[in-house]
């Protein structure tokens, strides 16, 4: 019961933040509502017993990536976006389309997995230890490949954003 109340509160905050991202015209407001979405998603990860993912969500997503976004918005001095004719048509066609899509997915989920409960998180104290074991034993090669990917991304960012001569 307590879990359900917490889930409903943070899920509502999540959805409200996502709707606010869609509704705001100025990119900095969208960025701040995305921070709200990511923070409440971290709390939902805690409800699921995933402490490591919750901590990484706060540090990497809400911290590093969003700082990068806000920094770019400030650097480019982005103002409120301008509406065009195409976006009005997309609003009137796409809005009901999204509602229908969410309704269909929710209906299928309730029909297929309506009574499947998620187990209790009582004996899941070694979450981070288990992830570390998996990451450095079974997924060692993908882990190293992602580190190379990050290195290439850094070099690409320097090359692309560096000042042209």
């Amino acid at each position: 019961m307590f879990h359900q109340i917490l889930f409903i509160i943070f899920g509502a905050v999540c959805v409200a933040g996502a709707i606010n991202l869609l509704a705001q015209r100025h990119p900095i407001n969208s960025a701040l509502s995305l921070v709200v979405v990511m923070g409440s998603l971290a709390l939902i990860y805690l409800l699921l017993g995933a402490e490591f993912v919750a901590a990484v969500q706060v540090i990497v997503y809400a911290g590093a990536i969003m700082v990068l976004f806000v920094f770019t918005i400030m650097l480019l001095n982005a103002g409120a976006e301008e509406r065009t004719r195409g976006s009005h048509i997309a609003l009137w066609v796409g809005g009901p389309g999204v509602v229908v899509l969410v309704g269909m997915i929710s209906w299928i989920m309730f029909k297929q997995l309506g009574e499947v409960e998620i187990g209790s998180m009582v004996n899941k104290t070694d979450n981070t230890h288990g992830i570390a074991t998996l990451l450095f034993k079974d997924f060692l090669l993908p882990f190293e490949i992602t580190s190379v990917l990050i290195l290439i991304a850094i070099m690409g960012a320097v090359v692309l954003a560096g000042r042209r001569r």
């Binding site: 899920g11 999540c14 959805v15 996502a18 991202l21 869609l22 990119p27 979405v37 998603l41 939902i44 990860y45 409800l47 699921l48 017993g49 995933a50 993912v53 990484v56 969500q57 997503y61 590093a64 990536i65 990068l68 976004f69 770019t72 650097l75 480019l76 982005a78 976006e81 301008e82 509406r83 976006s87 997309a90 796409g94 809005g95 999204v98 997915i105 929710s106 989920m109 309730f110 997995l113 309506g114 009574e115 998620i118 187990g119 209790s120 998180m121 979450n127 992830i131 998996l134 990451l135 992602t146 990917l149 290439i152 991304a153 690409g156 960012a157 320097v158 692309l160 954003a161 042209r164």
Partner: protein
């Protein structure tokens, strides 16, 4: 306890809001942020299924998705800066040539 379907429905709602923000928004930075929202929605269903099957592989995949998202955000924002330097605009309707 919370049923599994609630988590998946929340994930579906967030993903659809991300898709609609991707299609409706005209600012290139906001379009990038809606991609991050979609990745977060997928991460939520990964963690929910990892909990459901009592298997930590899903959480390791979330870790990899986060790394790829960080790399993608870095390169994407660098491209946005490079585009802004030549076009002086962030509106995607006005960026209609691949040429820098």
């Amino acid at each position: 306890m919370v049923p599994l379907s609630w988590y998946l429905i929340l994930s579906a709602i967030l993903f659809c809001l991300g898709v609609s923000a991707f299609l409706l928004k005209r600012n290139i930075i906001t379009i990038f942020m809606s991609i991050e929202l979609m990745l977060n929605a997928v991460n939520l269903s990964f963690v929910a299924f990892a909990n459901h099957w009592r298997n930590l592989n899903g959480q390791v995949f979330v870790f990899f998705v986060m790394v790829v998202a960080a790399a993608e955000a870095t390169v994407g924002l660098a491209i946005i800066i490079a585009v802004f330097r030549t076009r002086e605009t962030l509106n995607v309707d006005r960026v209609n040539l691949l040429k820098l």
